[in-house]
Amino acid sequence: MASGSGSTTAITTKGLGKRYGSLWALQDCTISVPRGRVTALVGPNGAGKTTLLRMLVGLSRPSTGELAVLGRAPRQDPEFLSSVGYLAQDVPLYPRLSAEDHLRLGAHLNEGWDADGARSRLAALHVPTDRPVATLSGGQRAQVGLGLALAKRPRLLLLDEPVAALDPLARREFLTTLTEAVADGDLSVMLSSHLLHDLERVCDHVLLLSSSRAQICEDIDDLLASHRMLLGRRRDLTDIERSLTVIKATQTERQTRLLVRCDGPVLDPSWEITEVGLEDIILGYMGQGDVPLGGHLNALEEVR
């Protein structure tokens, strides 16, 4: 058994940062993702998503801070790599080799390689395993890439924009394969994507990076429970900011509309209060890109 296999967190980082020259791709990232979660990694282009994933799998070294993946520091050694699957953005496969060739190759390179599981998944989706992968459709290639990543029987799977180039049906099939693998056992997943609607179905945890910093890292249900939209006549915000965290304020001539984070019910009857979907919450946080690490994350640190 690998040391740290008893760790209850899949990913822990503290003050993690990555600098390219004078440019910070990721800064001061302190997060904790419990095991068994499917985490949506979201944020605008250039927010540091790929940088984070590459550091988690050990392909890139942090400039500052610490990180632990399944309780261990990511390293390019067989024991660590056998527990982590990584599917890069462009699904790197050998174009002239078939899926079957890839599966045989994988068996040589990995212990505990589950080629049969991968074969039966691909067969169920009618993906030809005897043809060069270059001749397959984008959706089929993505399934081969996912099949190979799952054949390792990883305990953490990191997927960088896995469905971006796929049509809706191929996307659904990809996500079904993924959720079934999660249902099968001890597997944590982090996947980056811009397609929030897909993510909301498949994920139960969200990590939002914006302006190279972590703005949110928590369970989606908790996020939905703690955010509300308030709509009312236009007013000064000084009072309300004393009792609530205003994430985003939109003022028109007559009306004020606020996305707020609150721990209890909002009792002021002059507001019309509605629940907010994940997409609106995330867009609200993205809009406040200049704000440093989310206030609640700081608060969390203080509690610890």
């Binding site: 068994g36 659904r172 959720t179 999660v182 498949v202 249900d221 629940e275 979907g277 994940l278």
Partner: protein, 129 residues
């Protein structure tokens, strides 16, 4: 039993599943003793997070509506409080008739929903007063 998720509603996905299963129980679509689909079956059908399905089943178990039997599955153990399925069906039929009339009178879906909400609100206030 099939599920539908509305992602813009702000209602957590597990609660949407809980509400849909409860509604199926009220309407008599699901009966005491019926087996709920396994987590894997739901996941395979609608591509949602397995933890969401488990959380929904735990919530229903906590409320005493279903019972998980180790290695066998999750079974309906009682209906939610409220009138029997027959009453639900009867009310559904009269509401259907009303909705049909409203449509014929030229109300669109949005105005029907708004009207229903305002009636619910005012009857609640009367009930309280």
């Amino acid at each position: 039993m099939s599920f539908q998720l509305n992602s813009a509603s702000g209602v957590p996905a597990y609660l949407q599943l809980v509400q849909q299963i409860k509604q199926a129980l009220r309407m008599g679509v699901l009966k005491v003793g019926d087996k709920l689909p396994t987590v894997k079956e739901v996941v395979a059908e609608v591509a949602i997070n397995p933890n969401t399905v488990m959380k929904a089943y735990w919530e229903l178990e906590h409320e005493g509506l279903v019972e998980g039997r180790q290695g066998v599955g999750t079974f309906v153990s009682r209906r939610p409080d409220g009138p029997p399925p027959g009453t639900q069906a009867r009310l559904a039929r009269s509401l259907e008739k009303w909705v049909l009339t409203a449509r014929q009178e030229g109300l669109d879906e949005e105005s029907i929903e708004a009207l229903l909400r305002s009636i619910l609100r005012s009857s609640w206030i009367e009930g309280v007063a």
